[in-house]
């Protein structure tokens, strides 16, 4: 629903400075070079020590369609997307009218002077950038000129809001991998615009940034890069994939960084990355690799998940480790391929025909993406199951401020694999070995890898019915016994799955449950609710099947809100499924609108349903 009454950002028309607490929208055309401009602004603000986020709200298009990028600076450290931004850079004639109309009173609009637009709103500040004239003053080759035009707004924004040019320049250098020539060309445009604003334009708005010390030691990174690094530090050996937005950059990052795993003596690789012909093949490859003993992963999104259903169902049943990252995007089929969503949760949890209950990890930030990157591979091998990692476009493709990642604090655990000696010992102890014999009572059985030099080591892996000896069986009792063991495996898995993050005070009567990237919006919303007198507890689910603490949390509150970024309330549905007791006090707050969630929406909804 559209919100007409801005809550916190309806600023009075005064020049009382508003420092480090506002948001920008850059409205440009896709493929116009604005990505560099926006990255440079985010990096400059980050380097100034100001908590900042950047969210790319982009179209499924290579060049020409409208694209928006929002940047929020927050002295209080809020990193969720803001529902409304005070500043717009209107560089796209197709959307400018609407972009300007969305500004709150007291807002600021930058636009190219040569448009010669009338200033339709009296309650905002306009700054006109003579883009064409400034560009004409540069000595930039016409081949490049179009691509650096967006740097004019970097210069204007820097001057009006107080971003030092040296910060801008070092961000440019970082962006171009230290190449001074490219940085200098862009800097020329920025400096010209900056100087023009300094000499000719009077500042008439209250917004400005000031250096802080809140980002020291922190990093800026996307969740896909974080996940890729996690996988590399988790010993991934075979990566198979088929390109699909928004997962592609995860595998790209593995390719970029896999040299850290290269064998120094021979220059040979310890990570195979195979671009498959489709997601069916990608799934087949990682399952083949997992069966043969390598740690394997694929990264995909909803449509790819659909194609992996048969294979991952087989892997669940044949008990083969592998990891599948779902960088979730919006909707079925093409849907909104460049918009974020948490709409695959039910699908991946139950993926496979027959009875399946897949393990799912749900990272909320880059640190967790890194941690789950290696941990998922550990869990997959220990449980001999596929492990899904439910990320999303917001985490995967946007730059997030993060603490540096913790080196894995646990040694790698390869699970129950018997080599020749292990097999001999096993047979000595148990009289025989069967692939699916549950001798430890934890439902996890011992496997051998192809290549094991022992006459009893081989077994035949199949999706068809089998008994504990891995022998073909169509007997009902064999089937049931096996399914019961697979179900018990899920209990064993609980000890390995990340427990929920919980903030609990027994005095508070309202609880909020969520998962993944809604966290920043929820933490901000909790502060806003607190200001309204609604104190809340918080629980963030980090894995499926659900942890038992969730039941207690539900029982401990008079009202529980399950907040998630999909249309049907899928986590709410899973909670409902797992709780036979009365949960009428649990409310689903689900919004699947393709955008990262805002605190504003949560507060509004809680007020509606309380």
């Amino acid at each position: 629903m559209v919100v007409n009454v801005p809550l916190e950002s309806q600023q009075k028309q005064s020049l009382d400075p508003i420092v480090n607490d506002f948001a920008f929208t850059m409205a440009t055309q896709n493929g116009s070079g604005s990505q560099t401009a926006n990255n440079v602004l985010v990096k400059s603000l980050f380097d100034m020590g100001i908590p900042v986020n950047g969210k790319n709200l982009f179209p499924s298009n290579i060049k020409g369609l409208p694209t928006w990028y929002t940047i929020r600076v927050s002295k209080d450290g809020y990193t969720a997307r803001r529902y409304q931004t005070e500043v717009v850079v209107a560089y796209n004639t197709d959307t400018a009218a609407e972009d300007i109309a969305k500004l709150p009173a007291g807002g600021v609009c930058f636009l190219p002077a040569e448009w010669k637009w009338t200033h339709s709103r009296a309650d905002i500040v306009y700054y006109e950038i003579p883009m064409k004239d400034l560009m004409a003053q540069t000595d930039i080759n016409s081949d490049f000129r179009k691509r650096v035009e967006t740097m004019t707004y970097v210069g204007a924004v820097a001057q009006i809001f107080n971003i030092p040019l040296d910060r801008i320049y070092s961000a440019l250098l970082a962006n171009f991998g230290g190449k001074a020539k490219a940085a200098d060309m862009n800097m020329q445009v920025i400096r010209l615009t900056y100087d023009y604003f300094e000499k000719n334009i009077e500042k008439r708005d209250p917004y400005r940034v000031e250096p802080m010390n809140e980002t020291a030691g922190k990093i800026l990174i996307t969740g896909n890069e974080a996940g890729a690094l996690g996988a590399l530090f988790g010993g991934v050996g075979v990566v198979a994939w088929y390109p699909i937005t928004p997962s592609t950059s995860l595998v790209d990052a593995i390719i970029t960084h896999k040299h850290i795993r290269r064998d120094e003596a021979t220059g040979k690789e310890t990570v195979a990355v195979v671009q498959a012909e489709d997601e069916l093949a990608a799934a087949g490859m990682i399952i083949g690799a997992g069966f043969a003993g390598a740690r394997s992963l694929t990264a995909t999104s909803g449509p790819g998940i659909s194609l992996m259903a048969e294979f991952t169902g087989l892997a669940y049943y044949a008990e083969i480790p592998c990891v599948i990252w779902d960088i979730t995007r919006m909707g079925p089929s093409t849907g909104l391929p460049t918009r974020t969503s948490q709409g695959d949760l039910l699908f991946i949890h139950f993926l496979g025909h027959g009875d399946t209950r897949q393990l799912v990890l749900m990272p909320a930030n880059p640190e967790e993406a890194f941690e789950f990157g290696w941990r998922s591979l550990d869990i997959a091998e220990q449980m001999q199951m596929p492990v899904f990692v439910a990320s999303d476009l917001d985490l995967g493709m946007n730059n997030w401020m993060s603490d540096p990642f913790q080196y894995p604090d646990e040694p790698m655990t390869r699970g129950k694999v018997l080599d020749e000696e292990g097999l001999k010992d096993f047979i000595a102890e148990h009289g025989k070995w069967g692939r699916y014999m549950d001798v430890d009572g934890d439902a996890v059985t011992y496997r051998t890898l192809p290549g094991t030099n022992h006459p009893m080591a081989a077994y035949f892996t199949r999706g068809t019915g089998h008994n504990a000896m891995a022998v073909y069986s169509e007997r009902s009792d064999d089937w049931v016994v096996n399914m019961e063991r697979l179900r018990r495996k899920l209990n064993t898995a609980q000890a390995l799955l990340p427990a929920p993050i919980k903030e609990f005070d027994p005095a508070k009567r309202v609880g909020i449950i969520t998962f993944g990237t809604n966290e920043p919006a929820i933490q901000e919303a909790r502060d806003m609710l607190k200001a309204q007198g609604i104190e809340t507890n918080y629980l963030r689910v980090r894995a499926l099947p659900l942890h038992k603490d969730i039941t207690a949390f539900i029982e401990q509150h008079e009202h529980v809100y399950v907040v998630e970024n999909n249309f049907d309330g899928q986590l709410f549905q899973i909670i409902s499924l797992e709780h036979q007791q009365d949960i009428r006090h649990v409310h689903s707050l689900a919004l699947g609108d393709g955008l990262p969630m805002t605190a504003h929406w949560i507060v509004e909804k809680v007020n509606e349903v309380k």
Binding site: V238, V274, L280, I287, P404, F405, R462
Partner: protein, 348 residues
Amino acid sequence: MGRTARTNKIGLSREEYKGGKSTLCPGCGHDSISNQIISTAYDMGIEQHKVLKMSGIGCSSKTPAYFLGRSHGFNSVHGRMPSVATGALMANHTLTCVAISGDGDTGSIGLGQFKHAIRRNVPFVYIIENNGVYGLTKGQFSATADEGQYLKYYGKNDMPPIDLALEAIIAGATFVARSFSGDAKQVQALLQAALHHKGIAVIDIVSPCVTFNNNEDSTKSYPYGKEHQISLHDIQVISPDFVEGKEEITVEEYAPDEVIEVDMHDGTIVRLKKLGEDHDPRSRLQAITSLERAQRENLFLTGLIYYEEPRPTLVETENLIDSPIAHLSDAQARPSKDKLDALMKAFQ
């Protein structure tokens, strides 16, 4: 008792290369191929633990359970065996992979994976047990059935066949053969050569379905195969162990234009003695022409259709370490903390 079983060079009897009891129909061509695999592995003294058996879904794909019982096997998903084999071989490229598929598995649902595995040159032996019919679903035509063929339940086949040997050559396979499950000697010779090949080796074996497609007029039947098979060559595979003394094992003297010697990368020689047809498998154009002619003139040509010096395998393209990725040491699998710290600096 008292009779000692014959054993091969690693001291195993042929019996020890068998698998479980077949559940296919008595007389099935596929069982005959399983037998040739058993014999070939026995004759070559293959260590079974170094073999990986792969298959998709269908009658043919059941057969890895019936041979080489001491080898790991994976009966995977319909038409997607090639991807599973690819992943397994990326995990452990020191394994010898023998993969079984059928004409439904490869020619229809798996045609894409078939061609892409070839394109990548994944090093395994890809056997298609081709009977032109879907057996487990009771007798539908497959995509390799010849035009005009007749089946009891489905009447006449109006579609032209997909020639999987031709598809393999077009996709870039460097070893392509066709055979007939009724010709045990040829199947064994081709298997032996294929096992020496570096890269993907495709063998399309017409293997009659005795239940649904074995009428005399079926081009995939025993009677038809026995009557119409035209072997391109008499095949002799001389493994490197014997190459030095190859003169001694030559039992006949051939005129130079009667014999083609194909030198394989590991020193194996495949000696092809001409039998009427003019066919040099080292020419891609001639291989394609022969297959075209076979289809046009309804000839059942068998033998080594095409061979070329192997392209780099996927293992080489990926520049993988010599030892299996499945057995990385902890140090190989997890870089040091210093490396993580350096990366973190780069993201600051």
